[in-house]
């Protein structure tokens, strides 16, 4: 029932986008280059996922032995086992990350050095460790009074934590500055006013030191809401009109409460997942026991992989709605077509990938679907 409340979007149910030929918008050579790039990336991702599952399966089986490396109590030992699990994952994923980096550099998608990548990923493991410790501390602490029922308050605690994180997330984004382009700034205010979210600022994050890829995103909750544009989006080939459409899209996420809706979906999925973790770890004394942590990690990751196609469907629906809101407020389908074409080119993305890759990895609609929606809006409003 809750799902049926979260499911509807403003995209008209009777919208019939035309079936356009990608070759009308992209060079054949660009399409082939993008397909080759994505095929390699997809294979690498699938292999790394398989290795991830195998490593965690082995850790679930043998990880218990690391309890002897701990002088901490029940919860502290659980934390150690959780962190070590992710340490093994880091080791196992490192070669795939380096291979992907090599591939990205080859296609000018990334400028990060190999050593930088290793050091950065090692350091970012610190924040993963911290998150894992907080999660395990909550779960194992709740397992004391609630025993096998820990998943009920546990889900509520995780949703609460995720909300807190979403609230503070805007302050964690580095190198932010105001939008200095006067025309764009005025356009952003006008779009925000149209969408009824005139209090949301637009910021620019400097990322050109690390990547050429363009990006933008909506972050924050309530008073911390903002739209952040990567500064790579403000340079050619993107025109001001195209950036205006991107801002309208990101504001659409805020005006249509997509972050809240995402939490709603998260809560709906987290509860059964936590129940399954509780069920799976019963054989090892439940999550109350530190030795159940490696198995719990394995179950959580496998479940996450399992539900990712469903999460992708939800994500694509929300992105489609943001696209539609952008069309309704920016009313510039030509710029919308252009921006998706330019984004696809600069990111070396296949504009019309096979449906199975969309199902497995597609968090956003394909470029062709987005262009087709813009075309459908144009026909519908300016026949």
């Amino acid at each position: 029932m809750a799902g049926s409340l979260l499911w509807p979007t403003e995209v008209p149910g009777d919208l019939r986008p035309p079936d356009l030929d990608p070759r009308a918008f992209f060079n054949q050579s660009d399409i082939e280059a993008a397909q080759s790039y994505e095929l390699f990336t997809t294979i690498n991702t699938i292999l790394s996922t398989i290795v991830l599952v195998v490593v965690l399966a082995l850790y679930a089986r043998h990880g218990e032995r690391f309890t002897r490396e701990s002088a901490a109590g029940r919860i502290g030992t659980g934390m150690l086992l959780g962190m070590l699990g992710f340490a093994f994952v880091w080791f196992a994923q490192l070669p795939f990350g380096l291979v992907q980096l090599w591939w990205d550099r080859r296609h000018d998608v990334s400028e990060v050095g190999y050593l930088d990548h290793v050091v950065t990923s090692w350091l970012s493991l610190g924040s993963v460790f911290l998150f894992v410790c907080v999660a395990i501390a909550i779960v194992m602490a709740l397992a004391r009074p609630f025993r096998d029922q820990w998943w009920i308050p546990g889900t509520a605690a995780f949703v609460g934590l995720a909300l807190l994180f979403a609230f503070v997330a805007p302050y964690l984004v580095p190198d932010q500055s105001p939008l200095r382009n006067g025309r764009l700034d005025r356009a952003a205010h006008e779009l925000a006013r149209k969408q009824g979210v005139s209090d949301i600022p637009v910021k620019v994050e400097d990322v050109d030191e690390f990547t050429d890829e363009p990006n933008a995103f909506a972050v924050g909750l309530g008073p911390t809401r903002r739209v952040i544009l990567w500064n790579t989006l403000l340079d050619p080939p993107f025109s001001d009109r195209e950036v205006r459409v991107v801002i309208a899209h990101e504001l659409g996420h805020h005006s249509r409460n997509h972050i809240w809706k995402s939490f709603g979906w998260f809560a709906l999925l987290a509860a059964p997942m936590a129940l399954l973790v509780a069920f799976a770890t019963r054989g090892r004394g439940g999550i109350y026991e530190a030795r159940a942590v490696p198995l719990a990690l394995f179950v959580v990751i496998v479940l996450q992989i399992g539900v990712s196609p469903l999460q992708n469907v939800i994500s694509r629906r929300l992105e489609s709605e943001a696209d539609w809101v952008a069309l309704e407020t920016a009313r510039d389908p030509k710029a919308q077509r252009e921006v998706f074409r330019d984004l696809t080119r600069t990111s070396v993305t296949d504009p019309d990938p096979p449906s199975w890759t969309v199902a497995l990895f597609g968090t956003h609609p394909t470029a062709m679907h987005r262009i087709e929606m813009a075309e459908a809006w144009r026909v519908r409003n300016w026949p």
Binding site: E69, A71, A72, G73, G76, L80, M83, W122, G126
Partner: protein, 417 residues
């Protein structure tokens, strides 16, 4: 192969110091500075000649060995005089047995040519540690104390103490001797007196093997084994602890203020506050021991007594002098200076231990014990600052921290790292 160690012994343990010579010590030492600088220049050239001779012959030249041995002894005498580790004005010849601090140097013996060839490179970690234990420039320039190494800090603080008391504080004297002794070992390794790598273990000094019944003790039951996996990720694994330490530390700040006020009024620390601060101090020591690889297991988050191989034993609250309590923060400054100097050395020891632990699966006893020495002193300093005790921290190495150490067969010579 020449495996005998270079050793520093205290021939005259007297702590009495003449206030006049202490007051003018730096000026009195000027002739020694000049002489040492000249000798250092010559010793550098002789050392190079000795290196070539050792590479060719496989053993150092006896004549060059004698010259360099006299230089090292003389440098140690001057360092001891400057840091107030000894009182008499030293002679200028570095003659054996001529001074209160004696450097025992073995006779020249055969040396491995490979180790000889790369000696300077191999000695680099030890040279850095010697600088931290004595003071910047000490090993390179033969006695220019320009930054806060352990021995130079001990000398600096000892100067005030001697002027006031007419005697040197035993802890400061022993800390200085420990630093000078390690530097003498580094010279010994560099100048081919021995093949044994310098040993940072404070327990090799006689004065460190006297048990002290301090109110803050550091029992060590660690077995030197280190998990390679947790060693590799040690810093990251410590992050949750550092966050918890920070959060707990905020509460501790207020608890210390409350404890200060309560101790000023009552003359003794309230049991509840004492226990709270003691738990934090234990926890802090457990975490630092884990991060510095002084111990292996992942510590708990509660600072429970007896829960970790490197623990802190803290006596219950006792009577405290109200004047000493009132000015505690200022009185703790010298201890904080010594603690800071020791921390620099322990930081280097932690880095070396990390590499050693990663490749060998265990840490050298010398580095572990240096880390334990620093942790013990730091715990005593914070305990003094938190008003857990009114006894001033003991700055010298002592056996207090290793009394529960699993006994290990002792070699006839001090063990090396």
């Amino acid at each position: 192969m020449n495996g005998r160690a270079v050793r520093l012994t205290v021939l005259d343990p007297s702590l009495e110091r003449n206030r006049w010579t202490v007051g003018f010590r730096l000026i009195l030492a000027i002739p020694h500075f000049l002489w040492l600088a000249g000798w250092f220049s010559l010793a550098t050239m002789v050392a190079i000649a000795n290196w070539i001779a050792t590479l060719i012959q496989g053993t150092p030249s006896p004549m060059l060995h004698r010259f360099l041995a006299a230089y090292v002894r003389y440098a140690a005498h001057v360092a001891a005089y400057l840091t107030l580790a000894a009182d008499p004005f030293p002679g200028f010849t570095g003659r054996p047995g001529s001074y209160a601090i004696e450097v025992e140097i073995p006779e020249p013996g055969p040396q491995n040519r490979w180790v000889t060839g790369f000696r300077l490179l191999l000695a680099l970690p030890a040279i850095l540690l010697a600088d931290a234990l004595v003071g910047f420039g000490s090993t390179a320039a033969g006695g220019g104390y320009t930054s806060a190494g352990l021995a130079s800090t001990a000398g600096f603080l000892g100067w005030f103490y001697c002027l006031a008391q007419g005697r040197m504080a035993e802890g400061l004297r022993n800390a200085a001797v420990y630093g000078i002794g390690y530097t003498a070992q580094v010279y010994g390794y560099l100048f081919f007196f021995t093949q044994r790598y310098p040993n940072s273990d404070p327990a090799t000094y006689e004065f460190a093997n006297v048990y002290r019944a301090d109110p803050i003790r550091l029992p060590v039951s660690d077995d030197l084994h280190r998990s390679r996996l947790t060693s590799f990720f040690r810093l990251l694994l410590g992050i949750p602890h550092l966050v918890w330490l920070l959060l707990w530390g905020i509460a501790v700040l207020f608890a210390v203020i409350a404890n200060w006020v309560a101790t000023l009024i009552r003359g003794t620390s309230p049991q509840g506050l004492h226990n709270f601060l003691a738990a934090y101090l234990r926890y802090q020591t457990h975490v630092y021991a884990f991060l510095q690889l002084v111990a292996n297991p992942f510590p708990g988050f509660a600072g429970e007594p007896g829960s970790y191989p490197v623990d802190v034993e803290i006596d219950g609250p006792g009577r405290q002098n109200r004047w000493v309590t009132g000015f505690r923060l200022f009185l703790a400054i010298p201890a904080l200076l010594v603690s800071s100097a020791l921390t620099t050395a322990a930081f280097l020891a932690a880095i070396y231990s990390w590499f050693h632990g990663l490749f060998r699966g265990q840490v050298p006893r010398g580095l572990r014990n240096l880390g334990a020495y620093q942790l013990r002193y730091q715990a005593q300093t914070y305990a003094y600052l938190y008003l857990l005790t009114s006894k001033y921290p003991y700055s010298g190495p002592s056996a207090g921290w290793q009394m529960t150490l699993t006994p290990e067969p002792q070699p006839p010579q001090p063990q090396q790292t």
